[in-house]
Amino acid sequence: MFFAGLAGALLIGWFGLPAALYERIEQPLQFSHALHCGEDGVGMSCEDCHAFADDGRFVGIPGIENCAMCHEEVMGETESERRLVEEYITPGREIPWLVYARQPDNAHFPHAPHVVLAELPCARCHGPHGETTELRPFERNRLSGYSRDVWGPSISGLGTEPWEGMKMSDCCACHKKHQVVESCLDCHK
């Protein structure tokens, strides 16, 4: 009996919990990073779309006019490109992307110090996102409302990959490793 209970609890904890905790939401539109920036793709670089504004702010998700630069009208034959042009570019609507790496309001993450000064590659925190051929569903934590990527894909929180987890503890760990002098206001606004 003891082991039955043990097994049951373990099952619930390891598999029931994630299923119950996260709600999966499909992205409004499909997008293939591989197609755009892979060497077998158009060969764009991350910075072509995810750039810094002149005041040092990271623009993050590019605006629709950015897509319009190439996709003024349909070039390929993919369904999502057609939708891109018809539903967003032509009417000039922004795409309501669901951002995997979105931090909460009270956290401030400046890209410039990490990308420009520390010269971290995007993949260090975002993983091989740039090589994906399609956008996985956004997983929203029902309790905290955050993206699953903040905690990391593995429910145990003990990710094996360096980019797993974008919690405060993950930031601090890296800062500690590189002897970055810390204070609350570095990252909290």
Partner: protein, 691 residues
């Protein structure tokens, strides 16, 4: 036995479950998420996201026309800061200006027209459709027959909008009226000068000495707080205003004796021969009379009447006459109301004596001709059947009775164009929603006190709510879509005219430099530039009447000067801050300056000298009941050793309701005040009792 086993088994199951749970992420993950939730729970407002941009523009909250740089996130303004070195504001911005973008969300904000239904209570109203409102307004306008039956009250003339008002009035034989009050009143000056060479301005920046008769130079004169140049201020004011407290010299004169002191100073100037008498005699129709009046008023007598020491009077007079260029200003804070006519004449007159007309640092001429306007006081009583209030009148602080006595009884209608149902809009039977700051392109002209004309734009930086029309468009519809009622076109014409004149200079906020006007002004203004007219050459001293017009001019001045306005009893003197003197809507955060810190006098807070207070049976921080023939009002008492005994200075606003978290109230303290024949409400005998 079995039961024993199953029970034990059950316990074992639980035990296993417990152990398993501990070794599963469940408790830890949930604990962590719960912790995160408590730090950022869902009913906390979410921050806006989007690209952050900065735009140069101008503030339209008051006539000062301060240059501002506006930060927007995703097309929504979130931060306002002053533009250093701006020609109109000199890098300053008043407290309210910093929260101008909050006004769009003021709880009193109107997005639909409202019709007053007074039978359900003084402020009860119902929302109606814009089309319905317009047609109703037009019906009222049509119904108002006869010359002067329709009037427009505007606190900021000289704008394109003012032209549209005139066009609207023309076919109706209506009158365009400048709202009473404001810091500087040039009415008396206009009256003094026989055919003046156009409108005048004040060149305070270049002055070295300034005799300010109550002008709130540091409380909101032009751009609040920022006083250009290093002018020595002699503040002549009864109230310990911040200007008085920070002036080079403060003369605390008895209430209502400004005329006396001004003429007393004139006495010293004339007696000691500082004035250019031959010229004055040649130009001044009534100089001899004036001179005699002044000489009759000995410094001793002046000192006795005004309560200012003889020495002080002589010192002030000498400094004013010797340390030129110098200016004498007849101005008051917007709550205090204008000085009486005679006082204004006496004060402006001082400038004539020392030759401050024309040269830099004095009273200078401005280029653009002033459009004709009437004074409210000059209209016959009970003559107006339909009154239209410009948005700029919403926050005005004059006593409503000034207007009410001109309205033709109860059937007279009042229509207010206003973004908020607050302040003067509460008096209107129909309120048409006007855009809030930064919602439409708006025009900024030089304040009346500026030395030269100017033109700049307030740029549309956020989308106005659905159904809210620009003021120009509303006027077009009120005029029955008459031809030519095109605000934008008129504005372009105005700019084009300036371009054509190729006069003046353009200040570019981007570079912070002024360059002579050349070529395309329109696009420059669109980018937040500010055009400033060049100064006309000094002008010859025009003909003038020091005592003003009228057969009894001398007698009136004599009375004003030699009779002490109030001999016994307490006097009530209202006062208010620029932009916050009336009961108009204010940004909610302005509550920080009033409720949360008492830095500024909240509505109905009274400053009284401790002795006066105690003898009236009041205590510091207590409440008092003020009574005048016009009614009663409760005020909060604050003892202040700097206040003149016998005087009660009561702040006119803002009322608690202006911050939007309380129900608006009709009428303010000024409605208790006595209004003299020249339309001044500065002094009112008052009775005080403990509340």
């Amino acid at each position: 036995m079995d039961r024993q086993v199953t029970r034990r088994g059950f316990l074992a199951l639980l035990g296993g479950g417990a152990v398993g749970t501990v070794f599963s992420p469940l408790p830890w993950k949930l604990l962590d998420d719960a912790a995160i939730w408590t730090q950022n729970w869902s009913w906390l407002p979410r921050l806006p996201r989007g690209e952050v941009r900065t735009h140069a523009s101008h503030c339209t909250l008051c006539p000062a026309g301060c240059g501002i740089s506006v930060r927007t996130v995703g097309g929504e303004p979130f931060g306002i800061s002053p533009i250093p070195g701006h020609p109109l504001s000199g890098g300053a911005l008043c407290p309210l200006g910093f929260a101008a973008h909050h006004m769009a969300y003021h709880p009193c904000r109107l997005t639909d027209p409202i019709r007053r239904v007074r039978e359900r209570g003084p402020l009860a109203h119902v929302p109606i459709a814009m089309s319905e409102a317009i047609s109703e307004a037009r019906a009222w306008i049509g119904a108002a027959g006869g010359k002067g039956a329709v009037a427009v009250l505007d606190a900021r003339p000289e704008r394109v909008i003012s032209t549209l008002y005139r066009w609207l009035l023309e076919p109706l034989g209506g009158v365009y009226v400048a709202a009473p009050g404001g810091e500087a009143s040039f009415d008396a000056l206009d009256e003094m000068l026989i055919d003046p060479p156009g409108p005048v301005g004040l060149d305070l920046a270049a002055a070295r000495t300034c005799l300010s008769f109550g002008a709130p130079l540091l409380d909101g004169w032009g751009s609040p707080g920022a006083l250009p140049g290093d002018v020595h201020i002699i503040q002549i004011e009864t109230r310990p205003s911040r200007t008085a407290l920070h002036a080079g010299r403060w003369l605390r004169l008895h209430p209502g004796t400004e005329a006396t002191l001004a003429l007393g100073i004139a006495h010293v100037i004339l007696a000691e021969g500082w004035a250019n008498e031959p010229l004055l005699r040649e130009r001044g129709a009534d100089f001899a009379t004036y001179r005699q009046l002044a000489l009759d008023l000995t410094p001793a007598r002046t000192a006795e009447l005004t309560g200012i020491g003889e020495g002080e009077i002589r010192a002030a007079a000498r400094r004013f006459a010797q340390e030129g260029p110098s200016l004498a200003l007849a101005g008051t804070d917007p709550g205090g109301g204008p000085l009486p006519r005679e006082a204004q004449l006496a004060v402006w007159g001082l400038n004539l004596l020392v030759g401050s007309f024309g040269p830099p640092g004095g009273i200078v001429r401005r280029r653009a001709p002033a459009a004709p306007r009437r004074r409210l006081g000059d209209l016959p009583d009970r003559s107006i059947q339909l009154l239209l209030l410009d948005p700029s009148v919403t926050e005005a602080a004059f006593p409503w009775s000034l207007v009410a006595r001109k309205l033709a009884g109860d059937q007279a209608k009042v229509i207010s164009l206003s973004p908020y149902d607050a302040g003067m809009a509460l008096r209107a039977d129909l309120v048409l929603p006007a855009p809030a700051p930064m919602e439409t392109r708006d025009e900024v002209t030089a304040p009346a006190t500026a030395p030269a004309d100017a033109l700049a734009l307030s740029r549309p930086l956020r989308r106005p709510p659905k159904g809210v029309l620009p003021v120009g468009e509303m006027l077009r519809q009120l005029a029955g879509e008459a031809a030519g009622f095109d605000y934008e076109a008129l504005l372009r014409e105005k700019v084009a005219a300036i371009e054509a004149s190729a006069r003046g200079s353009v200040y570019e906020p981007a570079t912070g430099e002024s360059t002579p006007l050349s070529g395309d002004l329109t696009s420059a203004l669109e980018e937040g530039a500010c055009w400033v007219d060049e100064r006309p050459a000094a002008w010859p001293l025009p003909e003038f009447r020091l005592l003003g017009g009228g057969a009894d001019a001398r007698e009136r001045m004599r009375r004003a000067v030699f009779e002490r306005p109030n001999d016994a009893g307490l006097v009530l003197m209202p006062w208010g801050w620029r932009g916050a003197a009336g009961a108009g809507a204010l940004p909610q955060v302005a509550a920080k300056l009033y409720r949360e810190s008492h830095l500024r006098g909240e509505a109905d807070s009274a400053r009284i000298h401790p002795e006066t207070g105690r003898s009236a049976g009041l205590r510091d921080g207590g409440r008092a009941r003020l009574g005048t023939p016009a009614g009663f009002r409760e005020v909060v008492v604050a003892f202040d050793a700097a206040v003149l005994p016998g005087v009660i200075h009561v702040a006119t606003g803002p009322a608690n309701s202006s911050f939007g978290d309380v129900e608006p109230v009709l009428g303010g303290l000024v409605d208790l005040c006595r209004i003299d024949e020249s339309g001044s409400w500065r002094l009112t005998p008052v009775t005080v009792g403990e509340a």
